[in-house]
Amino acid sequence: MKQASTCLQVPPVARPSSTAVAPRRAWKGLPPLALAAILMLVCGCATTWQPGADTSADALRARAVTASAQDVRVSAAVLSADDSRRMLGADIPATGVQPVWIEVQNGSRRALWLLRAGVDPDYFSPLEVAWSLHAKLAGDRNAKIDDWFRAQEFTNPILPGETRSGVVFTNPQPKTRVLNVDLVASGLLIPFSLFLPVPGSEADDIIAKLSGLYTEAQVTDYQDAGALREVLERLPCCASDARGAPSGEPLNLVVVGELSDLGAAVSRRGFRRNTMQLDDAQRLYGRRPDIVLRKYAQGGAPPTWVRAWLAPLRFQGRPVFVAQVGRPRGGRFVADDDAAQKLHPDVDEARSLIIEDMLYSGGFAQLGFVEGVGATPASAARVTAQGASWYTDGLRAVAFMATRPLGLSDVEILDWAPYLQRRESDAAARIKATEH
């Protein structure tokens, strides 16, 4: 199967690498016909597709993760290589596509529509995946492959009283797939967030991990926004290193809300879970980040990361995550490997990137800013244990997540640290300087 996958035209996992943006074209000078000949050779390879032996979803249903709300039940599971061979006739996960089986039981009285762009903004169509298995001059066989994949697809709508299931072909997430399912009807949204184990990778039960971090006695639940603000201002400025020295990257974001709310909001904007070795250097509460997200949308997206720790705090019963937002130096213009990734010094810019993403995903109900990182001008930049310098206005953004996506005009910007006003005086000074 491995051999077959090298012939496939399905692209590798989308990476925020330099190839996405105006890549250097060393082969620029090749004449078109020579290139065409190479193309023919590349496409001409045979595939090893066989009709799936068993399309029953029983095995998936048995291990599926399930959630219910408003008379609707959603179950989902990520297909393993074996599931994929059995149901789809080929090892699709090996081609850089993650097939996710979804079942919706609609006990409501409305016809529902599942928005696949919310599952993955860059999902693959079934025939796109099937096409990658086509062979040259094998029309009948290719048509059979198409039919097979099409039959496995999740289709809309889900009528009242109906149970519908099928596969959505997504870009891969390692270990745990954060699955955002937005079901809509006229004037209605029923959102679900499921955390699906990815077969073939080490067990990573993020929910169990988070719920086992603190005892009830260790957690303080704040009812008053003012009290919460004070606590957030007293949090350490930065993560520490493995020895406990506070020389890590700044903690410039706080998220108030369920993990599922955060997961849904970031999934809609192309963030996926992905922990790299370099993340291990950042410690808070004496441990590595609980969850790391990286943006991987459309090849050309800014490669922002979010490293989050569950705090021993709650606000009106909702969990509080303390996080770092940053992006690597070089951005999309350097290679995507561990060694090359070093924090870009302008951490406020990365903070703005995620705020804008969340505003468009409808993820925020309220947004505020608190002091706590400590204003650090570029002329007196601080340096991490890894040798990355950084500077900031000293504020951390505090995002109160919305369970139901909101419109841009519904977001309330809290009157805490005067972010906009503070920036106003900067802007005035800047304008003055420009005029001068």
Binding site: T19, W27, L127, T163, D346, L420
Partner: protein, 434 residues
């Protein structure tokens, strides 16, 4: 030459005026462009006490403003000025112009990878040229760096304050390039005499009119039909096109030899090449009025749509009929003059569904529905497009109605028209529950 237009305007007139203003300035030719000419072709819109002016820079202008070859990296500066006479500061969302825009520091790094310190001259220059949030009362201006568009650019500005969002949308031409729009009159003058324009206010009558639209595109002579017209967009520069831009849809470059050559090479090396050309298709005896595409990871995965303005209006809004398909790979064909064309997903309903689900997240979709008009074409007896790609469909076209006021997913209304039952023409899924 600046054009100031009240926010409360008729879309058609504004579109025509705005484009006239832009085209008038843009027609001076590539060589004649002075580096700062963009300041003389600002387009301006006003909403209440907030006025926004923009200009998209040509490659030469951008390079002159920044002193480095931005165009070579696929980066284009857009000049934005916010003249804010409200009592509050606004946050401008650059991701509304381009979901994958370049922060100033990242763009600077493209030219000096080691420019990581704030004191670095290049990084500082990029920062000082950048539009800096927020936009307090008074004037705030600067550049936003986005992916380069050749020919035409849809510039969409979202300003957010607490409980207050304001949107401004512009169609601006980029001097010095040919594009589908540049040779097309749709934004320059009225395509239809006013006596031909019918404004529908009754939903049922509108639905019936949509059903009578032609089933498919044709070739230039009108002697052969091709892809199905499976898409209707209700809206224009203020709502529909900004929604598409927010989701990463961008105008195409015209089909010309340089572009085809670029795509040939792109097809061989999984590059993301957003300007792969589209072939011309015809409705109403004319080629597409606009073509948009959404590049995904590379040229193999490029969804494209073509639109034609109809003589219909719905509640005063422009109505466009269109064709959308999903490319699933580039292949060589002898049927297209440009040789390289795209293998399309034969299940054209899939691309239609994908667009609907994509724009559901645009914050501007007000309602959607389905109408008949293509004719059911089962997978067992598919029809062919002009390059002999097969296609099949349940025969319906999706109707997307946009509104300029930002709306959440929960606000989207479903028009009670045709019912969609999934794969009405396809095989029944095995192992699927009843």
């Amino acid at each position: 030459m600046a054009t100031v237009i009240s926010r409360r305007r008729t879309t058609i007139l504004a579109g025509a005026l705005l484009a006239l203003a832009v085209v008038g300035c843009a027609s001076t030719g590539r060589q004649a462009e002075a580096p700062t000419d963009y300041m003389s072709r600002l387009s301006t819109l006003e909403d209440g006490k907030v006025r926004v002016s923009v200009a998209a820079l040509s490659a030469e202008e951008g390079n002159a403003a920044y002193g480095v070859d931005l165009a070579d990296k696929g980066i284009q500066p857009v000049w934005v000025e916010v003249d804010n006479h409200q009592d509050r500061a606004y946050w401008l969302l650059p991701a509304g112009l381009d979901p994958n825009y370049f922060p100033a520091s990242e763009a600077a790094e493209a030219f000096a990878p080691d420019a990581s310190k704030g004191s670095d001259e290049l990084a500082q220059r990029f920062q000082s040229l950048a539009f800096q949030n927020p936009a307090p009362p008074g004037k705030t201006s600067g550049f936003i760096l986005v992916h380069r568009d050749e020919g035409v650019k849809i510039v969409h500005i979202d300003l957010v304050a607490t409980g207050d969002a304001r949107s401004f949308s512009f169609l601006v031409l980029v001097p010095g390039f040919r594009a589908d729009y540049a040779v097309n009159d749709v934004f320059r003058r009225e395509v239809y005499p006013s006596s031909d324009v019918v404004d529908y206010t009754d939903s049922d009558a509108f639905r019936k009119a949509l059903e009578t639209l032609p089933c498919c595109v044709s070739n230039e002579k009108g002697s052969k039909t091709g892809d199905p017209l499976n898409l209707v967009i209700v809206g224009g520069l203020d709502d529909a096109f900004p929604a598409l831009v927010r989701r990463g849809w961008r105008p195409t470059e015209a089909t010309w030899s340089g572009s085809v050559l670029k795509m040939m090479t792109s097809a061989l090396k999984h590059d993301r090449y957003p300007y792969a050309p589209v072939s011309n298709l015809y409705v109403y005896g004319r080629r597409q009025d606009l073509a948009l595409q959404k590049a995904r990871d590379n040229v193999h995965q490029r969804n494209h749509l073509r639109l034609w303005l109809t003589p219909m209006r719905y509640e005063g809004k422009q109505v466009w009929v269109g064709q959308i398909s999903r490319d699933i790979g580039t292949r060589l064909t002898i049927h297209s003059k440009t040789l390289t064309t795209h293998k399309i997903d034969p299940d054209v309903d899939e691309a239609r569904r994908a667009l609907l689900e994509d724009v559901a997240y645009s914050q501007s979709l007000a309602s959607f529905g389905f109408v008949k008009g293509i004719g059911e074409t089962p997978a067992t007896s598919p029809r062919g497009n002009l390059t002999n790609d097969p296609w099949y469909t349940d025969g319906q076209r999706v109707v997307l109605v946009f509104d300029e006021h930002p709306s959440a997913l929960t606000d989207i209304k479903v028009l009670p028209w045709e019912e969609i039952r999934g794969h009405v023409t396809g095989p029944v899924a095995e192992g699927e529950s009843p």
